[in-house]
């Protein structure tokens, strides 16, 4: 056992309001400068939708992440390092600016300095790449709130994968938001893709970084990352990416995106894992087993053997304590409501998500007694507007069972807590139905609903 510490995050998508405050505060702090105008270390995408960069989840096209080869070994999807070296000067799998968006500004100056003329002054868009006039036709968040869905929704790689047909129709409309940062994977394909050895995973906390001195700008990391969370600074010629705000983390502050998250849906915490078992777990054959495999790599920080091994590995005492009170660990391990994003990429991502509940599709009036007991509505998971298959393609390589379990726990929490809130009764049967005790539900409720600052980070 090789115990290592990983700074990790859980985002509760059920609480995400899609406001993009995280994106803006992150951008203001980190990428508000030339060369990275188009770069959003943190972005939020409306799903269904194509994401940013456009269609990044289509690994057939971009070749990010790992695949398991015939020998049962992991191999970069876009080819091994030799293959990469061979085409180091022309990388066909690199997203172009239009796949992100052509950043622009406006000739705002006209608003202040327009000479006398015939019309009201206006600031028209100008490309930040060419400086020329342009028509804005794509942005960092073009399909926000299902915008332009008729033109773009069919390009959503998830919808393309799903067997169930999802139509862009008013009556069937659904949407939710997916905030994304770098996954700071346990098995990062970007690091493995770097020909210069400039990308590395910090030994102490697992944060994946680009050494700005060592980066040679080959951009293999951009292709190699299946989440497209490594970006190229076209001014410095170096790769840049989400740093998990390490200058803040190091002094005990949460990341900017976490602390400024108005939905209060982000949890930060240290997780211990067994570095020896990462490769094996990432290489399990059945994609549906990747979730459990990754869970099994994570180590129980309360286990004396783990604590012992951690000490041996040089992990400081206060880090072990931090792992023990980590909300991330509780959400992943104790409650099992958090799930990784695209485990099938086999990078062992460490930003996990609680899937969103959503309005029920139809009027659930068939049973006739819903009006008497609002609690029965909360359990109608199979009638949710968001097809569970869609969530499964995001979080469990298509396996609906873990998503269903997570959603049922959220629904059970609502039912159980309604009993306390309205009728002053604790109905243990509800808790038992999802394999929990009432007390556990109340603890989970405190973490998810009351969610005090000190408990989120």
């Amino acid at each position: 056992m090789k115990v290592m510490a990983q700074m990790s995050m859980v985002m509760n998508l059920d609480k995400c309001i899609g406001c993009h405050t995280c994106s803006v505060t992150c951008k203001q702090a980190w990428t508000n400068r030339t060369g990275v105008e188009y770069v959003w270390f943190n972005n939020v995408e409306t799903r269904p939708g194509v994401g940013y960069p456009r269609g990044y989840e289509n690994q057939e096209k971009w070749g990010g992440g790992w695949v398991r080869n015939k020998r049962g070994r992991l191999q970069l999807r876009s080819g091994g390092r030799l293959a990469k070296l061979a085409r180091i000067f022309s990388n066909p799998k690199l997203p172009e600016i239009d796949d992100y968006y052509e950043p622009w500004t406006y000739d705002y100056d006209m608003l202040v300095n327009a000479p006398s003329g015939d019309h009201t002054p206006v600031a028209r868009p100008k490309s930040l790449i060419t400086g020329k006039d342009m028509k804005v036709s794509w942005s960092a968040n073009w399909d926000d709130d299902l915008g332009g869905s008729i033109e773009t929704m069919h390009e959503d790689p998830i919808l393309q994968k799903m067997s169930e047909e999802v139509k862009a129709e008013f009556e069937q409309a659904f949407m939710f938001y997916l905030p994304r940062i770098c996954e700071h994977c346990l098995n990062p394909s970007c690091v493995a893709s770097c020909p210069s050895g400039a990308m590395y995973k910090r030994a102490e906390d697992g944060i994946v970084l680009v050494d700005q001195d060592a980066c040679r700008g080959w951009r293999m990391c951009v292709s190699g990352c299946p989440y497209k969370k490594v970006y190229f600074n076209h001014k410095t010629g170096k790769a840049e990416k989400c740093t998990m705000c390490y200058p803040r983390i190091e002094v005990g502050l949460p990341t900017v995106c976490s602390e400024t998250c108005v939905g209060r849906l982000r949890y930060l915490g240290l997780v211990l894992y067994d570095a020896d078992r990462v490769a094996e777990a990432a290489a399990v054959e059945d994609e549906h087993e990747l979730l459990d495999a990754q869970r099994s790599v994570l180590l129980d920080p309360h286990d004396p053997a783990v604590i012992e091994a951690a000490r041996e590995g040089g992990i400081p005492e206060d880090w072990i304590e931090a792992a023990q009170r980590s909300p991330v660990w509780r959400l992943i391990h104790d409650y099992k409501v958090a799930l990784p994003l695209h485990p099938e990429y086999r990078t062992m991502p460490m930003v996990w998500y609680i899937p969103p509940l959503s309005p029920v599709v139809d009027v659930v009036s068939g049973s006739g007694n819903d009006g008497e007991d609002a609690r029965t509505l909360f359990a109608a998971i199979d009638k949710l507007r968001i097809p569970i298959g869609y969530l499964a393609e995001l979080f469990t390589a298509g396996d609906v069972a873990p998503v269903d379990e997570s959603l049922r726990k959220l629904a059970a929490m609502r039912s159980y807590m309604r009993g306390i809130s309205i009728d002053d009764e604790r109905d243990e049967r509800i808790a038992q139905a999802v394999g929990m005790t009432g007390r556990e539900i109340e603890e989970m409720y405190r973490l998810l609903a009351i969610a005090k600052y000190e408990e989120r980070y």
């Binding site: 091994g80 202040v112 008729i150 033109e151 862009a168 008013f170 078992r277 509505l377």
Partner: protein, 1240 residues
């Protein structure tokens, strides 16, 4: 150092060759490589990381906030490095909500997070500007007339010169000038206008004081010392829910957002919480985990639908039908089929339901008439003071009882201690049918309905009809009476055995108004869904003790008939006993920003320390007249009338209703008379009369007229307008193109023709040629370029919110907190406070020669929360002789010491001590505070006001506000409650006792947001750390509402309400613009054009027009104005996503790009609110001009019910009551345009 990593599984990377290669690499570069060669591990803290570490460093962090009208009032950390603001992040140090609730941290949104972009943006106004044409004129005039006032006069009084600078407004050509010159021009314009036309020809517009009280107050104080007119904004924005004064007698009072957490059932109705209440949306998301059920009512699949357990999608504007049917279900199931004790008890104590109403014979039958009052009874009851304002209910035996707590008790000294809701031993029956002696006597009532399609050939008359329904009656004092509750059951179509009339057979019966099936025909919402939600809402309210909440917003409040929509909502929260309960009741959040320290703010901003009353007026009517929209309106008032009306509005337009309202003193209007109000006093002196008598006589003789009768008389133009903290021309200006044409005199895309001669207002003078360019000077202070600055004659560079001291508060949270400068105002920018200080000084200087000390006649309307509210007994509107303060405005002379205006502006005047500070009928006496403030702020050392408290800095003004308000000064809170205790005979002072010694200072609120103190200035309680909910004090301590009965009103018995058919909650469909104004019928289309409903909901990427020009917000959206439309509508006209389209109607033209999404319902488009024309707006094919703003397609329409005054809760107060600038009923035609767009 990390030990070597061993793998015990199979090697996991590519293959042997790659491994070999990588193995070599391990030795030539530093760091630890995993043995399987997958990963490189390095220790942190390397030099390659230094870049990000440097980037994170900063010199200081300053607490401030954003003075933007979003109700956010979020506290922010502003980071500064090397004297430059770098970015901002939310503060997380709000006082705790308690251990069992989520906290307020972090509050903020992406708009706020992007604010610092403005500090250094290329659209920052860095210097003062003046339009070149005006600059040349002024400089030339100055050469001839050394006196600036004379110079200004020589320009504006020369029609050719005046037109020459007015017609180039908005067409570029702003040039840099100096502060000296720009202030000279501004002051000269003010002096000339005051002298020549009158101070009420100077108007000021700056909205939402809570978002930065001193920045607002500094300008408002200047305006009020001058005698200028401050325009209201809450009603103008259509954010004022007129139903609130109608039902509660209160402007708006709502729960803080943390109280959503306490709701067991939450309906978000026309309020897109994640977008418009971003900082607080989490309480809603989290409350679901506590078991709250959430319903979203919205015509589109809107952001908050994501959180809903059920989505209800009615046709736009039909919400009242749904609420009405829900009311039908609740009344039937909780008041008739069975009687829910809690609801019944609540209705008896806290509503007008048990009060008696006389039935009036009208035509073929009865209609509901007036409340029975003590004056209608025999003997002693009628002898009481103000018996005509003491409504009557019955005891269980049926005897009439005059209960405590009505308006008649409020201002009568002999009723001291009886203004309360204590019913004693009386248990009033809700229905006459509940009386033991009732023998089945009933009357057939005739009730209006407006949900019918007009008969063919009768389109002009509208679709209205009559339903006949019986109520149980009895005779009291010779009158046939019933109760309000009985009227409600009749109105809602809830049958009871034995009563005559047309009643629905069951819920599925759509033949008559009220049922779930009936609403389905109007809303498309399935009847079963309406029934279920109604049942759940009521059931939850019953089981939880009132914790059912409706969170409502602009989606339901911006309609012409929003007062009726809201009354159907409020009926639901009231009949289920949810008002005044934590977690229950209405939660209205549109433009509602509570100035928590209201008393101190009002004193400062209205300059009440120097003179009273201020000239405050109703913004909508002001702009309606000033922009000549009245000339295009011609909306016949009787088209809105009930078929059962008396013909009161026959032959009159809604503009005539405004004229009557002003003449009667119901609503204010400035300019008031067709003469300078300074000269009126001099005239009175000359003829040896009291000024008021002189005015009455002159009006009677016809030698003086109200300006409202002739707004196009040059004597009645508003001449100078000051705008700060606002963007009227790019945001709130309904009928934007009319503003440009008539107020400003420049190019405009107005497409409508003026009203035909037979449709013109009868009581107004029609001048053949409509004036263009009424305004001589438009002056705007801002930190960014907007339509308003672009069209202004002079533009003043304002400091941003990170560059000044100020105070912020909101209704969303219970804290007061501070603005602080992160940097000094850069370039030549100045704070609003400094700007108005300089203007006041310049003005005073010029006033010495031109104005001197004058006396000003202020015509003040009949005021809410004063005995004025008893000017119209029984709401009977009669022709009576002119009596100021009764049948016409009060006429009050105020001294204007113009040469000392600036000195007054900078010092606390004597009236604060002499007259006290009055808020909502309670007068506070603040001698100790004044004395203390003198030591905190210092006193004026010399001059006429030596010894007065200094108010010559923004911080000192903040201290005044905090010292003079109960919410921030516990001594005043306790004092106010003690006064209220005497008045009501109920104990209340204990609510504030715990904080009697607390006195928040500016330093306190800079250190951390501070919780306010429970104060009689508001109706809720924070006592013991409780969450604020409106009307908790009324419910728990029996303090009356400020209404006629002292209770919440279902019934409004004013003559005009009767004429409109709106005495009771009712469904009125959206205006039929086709019928009224000849617009296209929504849904019609040709191959190239489609007519659709045009809605302007609040935007995700801006707060009004603020942030819509911000590069971050533009990059995260579509980079300019768009119109969201359904795939079906887009297909009809061959439009694809992101195509350029033009949208037009009689009011103007918009050019935008289409956003085609299945989120939108067919037949309705959204252009999100306040898309200013400044960013990416090409020229229009239709008009040849720059495409317009979202309000280029709207126009002001006045609803007469908003104009009622002088009667109980229907009495005016500033931003409390007034016509709304509603804009949701519009229809537009859309077509695809040439995709080759031109910008100039």
């Amino acid at each position: 150092m990390t030990p070597g990593i061993r793998t015990d599984g199979a090697p996991a990377t590519d293959g042997p060759l790659a491994d070999a290669l990588l193995n070599m690499g391990r030795f030539v570069r530093p760091g630890e490589t995993s043995e399987d060669l997958r990963s490189v591990f390095l220790q942190g803290g390397r030099s390659g990381d230094a870049f990000y570490r440097d980037r994170w460093s900063h010199d200081k962090v300053v607490r401030s906030t954003h003075g933007v009208n979003c109700t956010g009032s979020c506290s922010w950390k502003v980071y500064v490095k090397d004297g430059i603001i770098t970015w901002e992040a939310q503060q997380t140090d709000y006082p705790s909500v308690g251990p069992d609730s989520p906290e307020y941290e972090p509050r903020g949104c992406p708009r706020g997070a992007a604010f610092s972009w403005y500090t250094y943006s290329p659209t920052r106004v860095r210097y003062p500007y003046i339009r070149d044409t005006l600059a040349q004129l002024y400089r030339a005039a100055k050469a001839q007339h050394p006196d600036p006032v004379d110079a200004w006069a020589s320009i504006v009084e020369d029609p050719e010169k005046a037109a020459s600078y007015k017609r180039v407004r908005g067409k570029g050509g702003l040039v840099r000038t100096t502060w000296d010159e720009v202030m000279e021009v501004a002051a000269a314009a003010h002096v000339h206008t005051v002298k020549t036309y009158g101070p009420d020809r100077v108007a000021g517009f700056s909205p939402i004081p809570a978002m930065s009280m001193v920045s607002h107050g500094a300008g408002s104080r200047f305006m009020n010392l001058l005698g200028g007119t401050m325009l209201s904004f809450y009603d103008w924005y259509a954010d004022l829910p007129v139903a609130s004064p109608q039902v509660f007698g209160d402007q708006t009072d709502v729960p803080e957002s943390a109280d959503w957490w306490n709701a067991g059932y939450l309906i978000m109705w026309g309020s897109n919480v994640p977008v418009t209440r971003t900082p607080d949306a989490h309480f809603m998301a989290e409350a679901r985990y506590r078991g709250q059920k959430v319903i979203t009512v919205s015509p589109d699949y809107t952001d908050n639908t994501k959180f809903a357990d059920e989505w209800v999608a009615p046709h736009p504007g039909t919400d009242a039908a749904l609420a009405f049917a829900m009311g039908h279900v609740i009344l039937r199931e909780h008041f008739v089929q069975r009687r829910t004790t809690r609801f019944q008890d609540y209705m008896r104590r806290y509503t007008d339901a048990p009060f008696l109403v006389e039935l009036e014979q009208r035509g073929e039958g009865f209609v509901p008439g007036k409340f029975v009052t003590a004056s209608d009874l025999d003997g002693a009851a009628a002898e009481q003071a103000r018996a005509d304002f003491k409504p009557v209910l019955m005891d269980a035996a049926g005897a009439p009882v005059v209960p405590n707590g009505s308006l008649g008790h409020r201002f009568s000294p002999e009723d001291e201690g009886r203004w309360n809701l204590d019913l004693g031993g009386v248990v009033p029956p809700l229905s006459v049918a509940d009386l033991p002696q009732w023998t089945g006597e009933a009357a057939e009532l005739r009730l209006p309905r407006f949900d019918l399609d007009p008969e063919p050939g009768q389109e002009h008359a509208g679709g209205s009809g009559v339903v006949v329904r019986g109520v149980p009656v009895r005779t009291i004092a010779g009158k046939t009476v019933t109760t309000v509750f009985d009227l409600m059951l009749a109105q809602y179509g809830v049958s009871r055995p034995g009563l005559p009339g047309q009643w629905p057979a069951d819920y599925e019966d759509a033949s008559t108004p009220g049922t779930p099936a009936w609403q389905q025909e109007h809303t498309s919402v399935p009847a079963e869904q309406a029934i279920r939600i109604a049942r759940e809402f009521a059931d939850n309210a019953d089981r939880s003790g009132g914790r059912s909440m409706i969170l409502m917003g602009a989606g339901t409040n911006h309609w012409f008939h929003s007062d009726t929509i809201y009354r159907t909502f409020l009926a639901l929260t009231t009949m289920t006993g949810c008002q005044g309960v934590n977690g229950g009741g209405w939660a209205h959040y549109v433009g509602q920003e509570k100035v928590r320290p209201i008393t101190g703010y009002q004193q400062y901003a209205s300059a009440a320390d120097w003179g009273r009353p201020p000239r405050h007026t109703i913004g909508t009517a002001f702009f309606y007249l000033a922009t000549d929209q009245w000339r295009y309106d011609g909306l016949p008032a009787d088209q809105l009338s009930s078929p059962l009306g008396t013909g009161r509005f026959a032959g009159r337009t809604t503009a005539d209703c405004l004229v009557e309202s002003v003449q009667r003193g119901w609503m204010p209007s400035y300019p008031t008379f067709d003469r300078n109000p300074l000269d009126l006093v001099d005239e009175a002196d000359a003829v040896g009369k009291e000024p008021a008598a002189h005015v009455v006589d002159s009006l009677n003789e016809g030698t003086l007229r109200f300006a409202v009768e002739d707004p196009d008389d040059p004597a009645n133009f508003p001449r100078v307008m000051n705008i700060w903290r606002a963007n009227v021309l790019g945001s709130s200006g309904k009928g934007n193109e009319y503003f440009l044409k008539h107020l400003l005199g420049t190019d405009a895309a107005v497409r409508a023709s003026e009203a035909a001669p037979d449709a013109r207002p009868a009581s107004m003078t029609w001048r053949e040629k409509a004036p263009e360019g009424k305004l001589d000077l438009l002056m705007t202070a801002d930190f960014r370029m907007t339509s308003t600055t672009l069209f202004s004659d002079i533009v003043l560079p304002a400091a941003t919110w990170y560059e000044k001291h100020d105070l912020s508060s909101t209704d969303m949270h219970p804290f007061i907190h501070a603005f602080n400068p992160a940097i000094a105002p850069p370039w030549q920018t100045k704070t609003d406070f400094e700007t108005f200080r300089i203007l006041a000084e310049k003005f005073s200087e010029m006033a010495r020669t031109h104005l001197g000390v004058r006396r000003d006649l202020v015509a003040a309307p009949l005021q809410h929360d004063t005995p004025d509210a008893m000017a119209t007994p029984h709401g009977r509107v009669e022709d009576l002789p002119r009596v100021p303060g009764v049948t016409m405005p009060k006429l009050i002379v105020v001294e204007r010491d113009y040469p000392n205006l600036a000195e007054r502006w900078k010092a606390l005047g004597p009236l604060t001590e002499k007259l006290g500070l009055t808020t909502k009928g309670i007068t506070y006496h603040a001698e100790p505070e004044i004395e203390r403030l003198g030591r905190v702020n210092g006193t004026v050392t010399s001059g006429p006001y030596a010894g007065s408290v200094r108010l010559d800095s923004d911080k000192r003004a903040c201290e005044l506000i905090l010292a003079m308000s109960g919410t921030s000064n516990g001594r005043l809170a306790v004092q106010g409650f003690k006064a209220l205790e005497k008045h009501t005979g109920q104990e209340m002072a204990f609510l504030a006792d715990e904080h009697e010694g607390t006195h928040l200072s500016f330093t306190d609120v800079s250190v951390q947001p501070r919780s306010v103190i429970t104060s009689p200035e508001w109706s809720g309680s924070e006592h013991g750390g409780r969450r604020y909910t409106a009307f908790a004090i009324n419910v728990e301590h029996l303090k009356p509402w400020h209404t006629l009965t002292g209770r919440q009103h279902f019934y409004l018995d004013h003559d005009w309400m009767d004429e409109l058919g709106e005495t009771l909650p009712i469904y009125r469909p959206p205006l039929d613009m086709h019928r009224l104004f000849g617009d296209e019928i929504p849904g019609t289309s040709t191959a190239t054009e489609v007519a659709v409903r045009y809605l302007t909901p609040h935007s995700k990427w801006s707060i009004h027009s603020e942030y819509q020009d911000n590069l971050f917000m533009l990059s995260l959206s579509r980079g300019g104005p768009t119109i969201w439309m359904s795939p079906q509508d887009a297909a009809k006209i061959g439009v694809r996503d992101n195509d350029w389209i033009e949208s037009y109607n009689r009011n103007g033209v918009v050019v935008a790009r289409a956003n085609v999404s299945h989120r939108m319902p067919e037949g309705t488009v959204y252009m999100y609110h306040a898309k200013d024309r400044t960013v990416d707006v090409p020229l229009s094919e239709t008009s040849g001009l720059r495409g317009g703003i979202h309000n280029s397609l709207t126009r002001i329409l006045l609803k007469p019910s908003h104009l009622i005054g002088g009667y109980a809760q229907l009495a005016w107060a500033f931003n409390y009551l007034g016509p709304t600038g509603n804009q949701r009923d519009e229809v537009t035609t859309i077509r695809r345009r040439s995709q080759e767009v031109q910008y100039r």
